[in-house]
Symmetry: C2
Subunit: 340 residues, 2 copies
C-alpha cells in the first residue's frame, strides 16, 4: 500500500491536519514543520490519493474530451495532433485528460450527461462544432464549462477558438481564379459541421468577387476521408465537362481527389487542380504536393485546453473568442496558370 497522509502524521509526530496543511504550504505551519513533513513525504514516496482529494474539494482537475468516432476505421491525423495539443497544455497545468469515444448521434448526449453528473470532469473540450449542436446546447443549459474548437451559429457568446476559414477559402478562391480557373467544383463535408458552412461561404464569396457563381450542383458531399474524396472526385471527373479545379474542404478528401484524378489518367495541376484544407503533414508529400490552408491544430488544441482550464479555475479570460488568421500554403497541386 502506498503511504497515506496518516502515515506521515504518525512518522513526524504531528496531526493529520498539520501534515495536510504543511503539504499545501499554509502559513499557520512553522517552516521547520513544513520542512520535516516534506522530507518525510518525499522519503516515503507519498503521493496523494486523487479520489479522496477530489471527493473532498469538489473539483476533479480533469478535463473531458469525447472523441466523435465515425465508423470502425477511424484514423484522422487531425485528432491525434489535436489531442497532443490538449494533453500537453493540460499536463502543464496539472490537469488530467479523460477521453471517451462515442459516435455522433443519440447516445452522445448521454455520454456527456454521464460524465457531467458523475462528477468525472470539470469541463469539456468540444470539437468540430455542428449546427444546432446538441452537445453545446446541453452544456450551456446545465451551465457546465466547455470550450469549443469551432463556432456555433447563433451562439456567439460561447468560448471558442476557430480559424477564420472564410478568409482561408477566399485566399483559395483568389488564387485559383488568378491561375485562370473558372470551372471550379467543391467537395465539402456534411453541412451539419459549422466549419463546412464557413468554408463554403468563404469560397462562394471569394469567387463572387471575381464574378464566378459557385452552383449547388458543383458542391458535392463527402465524408472527410480519402475514400469520400476519391468517390466524389470520380463523379466530377466523369461529368461531360469536368471542372478544372477541385476544392476539397479538408486535406484527406483532397488526397482522395488527387488519387481519383490520377486513376482517371489525368494530371493533377494540369488537367485538374486540387486544393485542400488543414495542411496535415502528409499534404507536403502527396504527388504533386498539395496546395492547402494551414491550420495549427496542435497550437489550437493547446489554446482550447488553456482557455478551459482558466474557465474552470475562475481566472478571467483575456479573450473568450479567438479567431485565427489562416495562411495559404501554395504547392504544386494547384498547378501553373492555365493558358487560354
Amino acid at each position: 500500500m502506498s503511504p497515506s497522509i496518516r502515515d506521515i502524521a504518525k512518522k513526524v509526530g504531528k496531526s493529520i491536519t498539520t501534515v495536510s496543511r504543511a503539504l499545501h504550504d499554509y502559513d499557520d505551519v512553522s517552516p521547520e514543520t513544513k520542512e520535516l513533513v516534506r522530507k518525510a513525504a518525499e522519503e516515503m514516496g507519498y503521493i496523494a490519493n486523487r479520489q479522496a482529494q477530489l471527493l473532498r474539494q469538489k473539483s476533479t482537475d480533469t478535463i473531458g474530451f469525447i472523441l466523435p468516432t465515425f465508423g470502425p476505421r477511424f484514423s484522422d491525423p487531425f485528432f491525434s495532433e489535436f489531442l497532443a495539443g490538449i494533453g500537453n497544455k493540460a499536463s502543464a497545468y496539472g490537469y488530467d485528460l479523460l477521453v471517451s469515444t462515442c459516435p455522433p448521434g443519440e447516445k452522445e448526449i448521454h455520454t456527456y450527461q454521464y460524465e457531467v453528473q458523475s462528477n468525472r470532469v470539470d469541463g469539456f473540450i468540444i470539437v468540430r462544432t455542428r449546427v444546432e449542436d446538441e452537445r453545446i446546447k446541453y452544456l450551456t443549459s446545465v451551465n457546465f464549462p466547455f470550450v469549443a474548437f469551432g463556432r456555433v451559429p447563433g451562439m456567439d457568446d460561447i468560448p471558442f477558438v476557430d480559424e477564420n476559414s472564410e478568409i482561408g477559402m477566399q485566399m483559395i478562391a483568389d488564387y485559383l481564379v488568378d491561375l485562370g480557373h473558372t470551372k471550379i467544383a467543391c467537395i465539402a463535408p456534411s453541412m451539419n459541421y459549422t466549419f463546412a458552412i464557413h468554408r463554403i461561404a468563404g469560397l462562394k464569396e471569394g469567387l463572387k468577387l471575381h464574378g464566378i457563381n459557385l452552383q449547388e450542383k458543383d458542391i458535392l458531399t463527402g465524408d472527410l476521408t480519402e475514400k469520400g474524396g476519391y468517390e466524389r472526385a470520380m463523379e466530377l471527373i466523369q461529368r461531360k465537362m469536368h471542372p478544372t479545379a477541385i476544392v476539397a474542404l479538408n486535406d484527406l478528401m483532397a488526397i482522395g481527389a488527387i488519387s481519383a484524378i490520377q486513376d482517371s489518367g489525368l494530371i493533377v495541376g494540369k488537367d485538374i487542380s486540387v486544393t485542400g484544407f488543414d495542411n496535415i503533414p502528409s499534404a507536403a508529400y502527396t504527388h504533386p504536393p498539395l496546395t492547402t490552408v494551414h491550420q495549427p491544430i496542435f497550437q489550437i488544441g493547446g489554446m482550447v485546453s488553456e482557455m478551459l482550464i482558466q474557465i474552470v479555475k475562475n481566472v478571467p479570460l483575456e479573450k473568450k473568442q479567438i479567431l485565427l488568421k489562416p495562411s495559404l500554403i501554395k504547392r504544386q497541386s494547384s498547378g501553373a496558370p492555365i493558358k487560354k
Copy 2:
C-alpha cells in the same frame, strides 16, 4: 446539485444502505423496494458520484494510456485509430480512459509513477514497446497491471498483443524478390523499438532465403514520419547505384520515400519500388498506391483494452500473449516484375 444516494433514501423512506444495495441488485432487498428505488433514482436523474464510489471500493474503473508524443507536430494516424479502438472497448465495459501525453525520456517514468501512486488508474496500455523498456520494467516491478502492444525481448511473460511482423516482412521480401529485385534498401526507425528489430529480422531472413544479404549500410534510420522517409530516401537515391526497392518500415516513411523518388524525376514502381507497413487508410491513395502489410490497429486497440480489463477484473485470460498473422496488401508501388 445533483441528487445523492441520501436524497433517494429520504424520498423512498429507506436507509442509505438499502438504496445502495438496491441499486447494485443485491438479493437482500425485496423486488418491490428495488423497483421503487430504481424508479426514484431514474426520476431524480441520479448518477453516482464517481470519486466517492472509487474512493470506497479501491478500484478506479479507469485505464491509463500515456501517449508518447514526439516533437510539437505530432500527427500519426496510427494513434487516433489505436485510441479509438481502446476507447470503444473500454466504454463497452464501463471503463474510462485517462490519456496523458509525455515525450519519451526521463520524465516519462514519473508520469507513470504519479498515476499509479495517486490511484488514478487500474492499469496501463503500453504502446510501441522498446528494448529495455523502462515503462514495463517499472510496472512489473511494482506489480501494476498493463498490457502492451508489442513484445519486449527477454520478457516473454508480459501480456501483449502484437502482429507477427517477421512473417509480414518475409512476405515483403518474398514478393520483392519474386518481382526480380536484388538491390534492396530499408528505411527503419530507431532500433530501440522492438517492432523495428522484428521487422528487420524478418526482412533479413526473408531475403537470406533467396540468397540475398541485407547489409547494414542499406539500413537507414528515419523517425517514422513522412519527412524522415523523404530524407532517407533521398540519400539512397543519390548513391551511385541506387537500390531498386526501398522497404520502409511504416507507411508514413514510405509516403515520404515515394515523394522523394518522384521529386528526383524517377518513377515509383518502375525505377524504384516502395513498400510500407501498417496499411493506414492513406496507403490506398498514394500515387501509385502503396504495397504494404496490413495491421488492424483498431482491432488491436480493442484487444489490448479488453485484455487489460480482464486482468484488472481478475478474470482469467484465455491467452496472455497474442500474435496476429499479417497479410500482404499488394498495390502498384511495388511495380511489375523487373525485366532483365
